[in-house]
């Protein structure tokens, strides 16, 4: 549910808590992760500009697209980048991540290389150093919002690019440091799940509090024979997909939501899922036993029932009750009914034993000695 994600990112972190972190996960069968990323980016930016969110600024760490792309994108969506108050900073890790251009310039080769100096972007030349990356993100953020208690958001373009240069444990360290920094309001990143091992995806999901995964509409097996008649349908369905979100809530439960999306011309729209194939969460249903515990009221009522075989405690000889109406005066009789219903307990408690004899016509001893009925 894109709305809830936007709300969660907008609301940010409580005091003393880690910042909410979102992983956007896609794969080659439905490669629209970047669309979701830009959608969230624009939503968050408009929230920041309208002062609806906890954060006052945004630091965008751009790995897979150039900063100018983002500026164009935001301008196209009607979000003014060059407004009076600076609210966005872009850390440019796209242009020269490993510092090669600098090295070339230094050694005199790249005279013709133009030095792009885009507005609002600072260059990062060494993405292998996670500490340096962390400190530059924090510095940029503090540059936007000042020194006080105001927070800022962080958006990382693509974690896969960082993972090319650094190990997963250092990237995990970076993400957890960012989350636990008390100036960061929320953080989200994009990851393509089939570019790395499963363990990397598991680590990213472990570090995040929300996981949004993008899946195709029909989960068909990879490499099955291409059905030529279904090709137009497949093509049509390519632009649609399912958007699943798992929220880790504070009470320890996981909220699972999903909706459908469709993409048209770089814009992505979300709509709620049509409930034809409801995914039934059957994985946790146990083979449970029945509830044999009693509630308090039930226990109380049970305690009040006088069982006929109990020790009456009165010192009188014990009479075994066998349902006949000829009983001692100790038990209070209801109005004598000829069908033989007798109530054992007349008071207001609900616990009663009602014994219905089959028939009262039988001779009194027929229970004990059934052979008397036989006529031999």
């Amino acid at each position: 549910m894109a709305e809830s994600i936007c709300r969660a990112l907008r609301d940010g972190a409580l005091q003393g808590e880690h910042a909410p972190a979102l992983t956007i996960k896609d794969s080659i069968v439905s490669p629209f992760g970047f669309h979701v990323f830009t959608h969230l980016l624009t939503q968050l930016s408009s929230n920041i500009l309208a002062a609806k969110s906890q954060s006052r600024g945004l630091v965008l760490v751009a790995f897979s697209r150039s900063p100018s792309f983002y500026l164009d994108l935001l301008n196209r969506k009607g979000i003014h980048v060059a407004s009076s108050q600076k609210w966005i900073e872009i850390l440019d890790c796209y242009t020269d991540p490993l510092g090669w251009k600098d090295a070339l310039l230094a050694s005199g080769y790249g005279g013709s290389l133009s030095n792009e100096a885009s507005t609002g972007a600072s260059l990062c030349r060494n993405v292998k150093d996670m500490d340096k990356l962390y400190s530059s993100i924090i510095e940029l953020g503090k540059g936007i919002v000042g020194q006080g208690k105001v927070r800022f958001c962080v958006a990382i373009d693509s974690v896969n690019e960082i993972l090319r240069h650094a190990s997963i444990s250092s990237v995990a360290g970076l993400l957890s440091n960012l989350r636990s920094n008390d100036r960061v309001s929320s953080i989200f990143w994009l990851s393509h799940s089939d570019l790395h091992e499963d363990r990397v995806t598991a680590v990213l999901e472990y570090m995040s509090s929300m996981v949004a995964s993008i899946e195709p509409l029909n989960q068909s097996a990879y490499g099955h024979r291409c059905n030529w008649e279904r090709l137009p349908l497949l093509k049509h369905n390519f632009w649609k997909g399912k958007f699943h979100v798992r929220f880790k809530r504070r009470n320890g439960r996981v909220r699972v939501m999903s909706e459908e999306f469709y993409v048209e011309q770089l814009a992505i729209n979300f709509r709620s899922i049509s409930s034809e194939d409801e995914i039934v969460n059957r994985s946790l249903l146990p083979k449970v036993q029945f509830n044999l515990q009693l509630s308090e009221k039930e226990q109380f009522d049970r305690a009040k029932v006088v069982l006929p075989f109990e020790h009456q405690g009165t010192g009188k000889p014990i009479q075994i009750y066998d349902g006949r109406r000829s009983l001692t005066d100790g038990k209070s009789e209801a109005e004598p009914v000829s069908t033989g219903i007798l109530q054992t307990n007349e008071n207001s408690s609900k616990g009663e034993i009602i014994y219905l004899r089959d028939s009262d016509d039988e001779r009194p001893d027929s229970d004990e000695d059934p052979d008397d009925d036989l006529d031999i």
Partner: protein, 458 residues
């Protein structure tokens, strides 16, 4: 004189004397097959073996008493009297019979009736000593608590922080009992976690949860059998001293009072920045060296709590063999000391073969799992779904001094917070099936999904 027909043994064959059979059956067989002299001999042998058998449980008890230190000697005075009485009576009577005098059976287990001098330790059978996990229900499920010298591993769920609840209760219980604690975590400042430990709730007002619902004082229906009851109802209440309870109920909303934390032997270690595990191993070794296990009486037990051991931000987290060897050495160190170590780890971050290795290393293996929120299917199926925060599975229970495993009735429990404060584990109960639908849960009317058997089972 009548010639005695004495056939040679070779002709008759050797009849094996049925030692364990019932005396009457043995008598019948004997009288039919053998001569009178042989019958008399075999009867004497039978009596001798049976009297030996009635002594034998006492021998067993004596051995246990020797192992576990000071214990009351078994009721030896009764059994010779009983065998003497059976020898005097004719053999036709049953050896084991209900006498009018209530005698405790010589097969009774000798649980320690002497209260332990150190609070926080409980003596169990087979010479094991338990310390409390901090959660009363978990102690009950595990048969007394965590045995000293065992390694407890808790498998986390990446989506829920329930392992923190278990760790917090474990650590708080240790601090309340003044047991030294070593805490390691992947955060930069582990000491901060101590501020989130819960305080013991007041022990008086929540005895509404009956500890032993089956322990009724009398029998209601079979009251005629009351006169056969011995006095074996004592050991339920022996450790119920209010001040030094074995296991406290912790109120998760209130933090632990300062006097429990200050002045205590608490070590906090951050495992975030260490490139290898040598430093942690040294810390554990020095900590555990203070509590060696020997035959003298125990002064105090100690606790080790390691949180999220393979957390990805730790620098050693990609060295899988190093982590396995650390766990193995930790287990061996704990085994030879009076300590319990609790290690939590998220198994999804390990490769499957290593996850299996870690699970095999554990003496007690628990796992916590998250439950989906606002899941209508689960709400219909389980009672008390609203209060549940998660699920706890017990995979393995430590049995150190015995070969008899623990077989639990149920291995899955729901974690609930009673009154939002106290951690309670309950076994799962199915909600009553709606009478209108009338179908079992497998084919419920509203869903069309396949009825896969769940990963939870009983």
């Amino acid at each position: 004189m009548k010639p005695t027909t004495s056939k040679s043994t070779a002709e008759r064959g050797l009849y094996p004397l049925p030692i364990m059979a019932s005396p009457e059956g043995a008598l019948v067989v004997l009288f039919h097959m053998l001569t009178f002299r042989e019958v008399a001999l075999s009867l004497l042998l039978l009596l001798g073996s049976l009297s030996f058998l009635s002594y034998w449980p006492d021998v067993h008890n004596l051995w246990l008493a020797g192992v576990a230190g000071s214990r009351e000697p078994p009721p030896k005075s009764e059994s010779p009297a009983s065998t003497r009485s059976t020898k005097a009576k004719p053999v036709n009577n049953n050896i084991v019979m209900a006498t009018s005098k209530p005698r405790t059976s010589s097969f009774s287990r000798n649980l320690a009736t002497v209260p332990s001098s150190t609070p926080g330790l409980k003596y169990g059978p087979n010479g094991t000593i338990f310390i409390s996990s901090g959660i009363p229900d978990l102690d009950k499920i595990l048969g007394g608590g965590f045995p000293l010298g065992s390694l407890v591993m808790v498998m986390e769920d990446a989506e829920a922080p329930h392992h923190m609840l278990l760790l917090r209760n474990f650590m708080s219980q240790g601090l309340v009992h003044k047991q030294p604690l070593l805490y390691a975590s992947p955060s930069k400042d582990p000491k901060g976690f101590l501020g989130t430990l819960p305080t013991p709730g007041s022990s008086k007002d929540d005895k509404s949860r009956d500890r032993d619902p089956e322990n009724e004082n009398g029998l209601r229906i079979a009251w005629q059998y009351k006169k056969y009851f011995g006095d074996n109802q004592y050991h339920f209440d022996s450790n119920r001293d209010v001040k030094h309870e074995y296991c406290h109920d912790f109120d998760l909303r209130k933090p632990l009072e300062k006097h429990f934390i200050s002045g205590q032997h608490i070590d906090c270690v951050s495992i975030l920045d260490s490139p290898n595990l040598a430093a942690l191993r040294d810390r554990c070794a020095t900590f555990l060296a203070q509590f060696p296990r020997n035959d003298s009486s125990i002064s105090s037990a100690s606790r080790i709590a390691i949180q999220s051991f393979c957390a990805p931000q730790c620098k050693y987290s990609n060295k899988e063999w190093d982590m396995v060897s650390f766990i193995r050495s930790l287990r061996s160190m704990v085994r030879s000391s009076n300590a319990v170590a609790v290690v939590t780890f998220p198994p999804s971050l390990l490769s499957p073969s290593f996850s299996r290795r870690w699970q095999h290393m554990a003496d007690t293996l628990l796992s916590v799992r998250a439950i989906p929120d606002e899941d209508k299917e689960m709400a219909k199926l389980l009672t008390g779904y609203q209060d549940m925060v998660g699920l706890l599975n017990v995979h393995k229970v430590a049995r150190i001094n015995t070969q008899v495993p623990v077989i639990l009735d149920a291995t899955t429990f729901s974690i609930k917070l009673q009154k939002r404060r106290f951690l309670v584990l309950e076994s799962l109960n199915q909600a009553p099936i709606d009478s209108s639908s009338g179908t079992s849960y497998g084919t419920s009317a509203s869903c069309s999904g396949s009825s896969k058997t769940g990963t939870l089972d009983f």
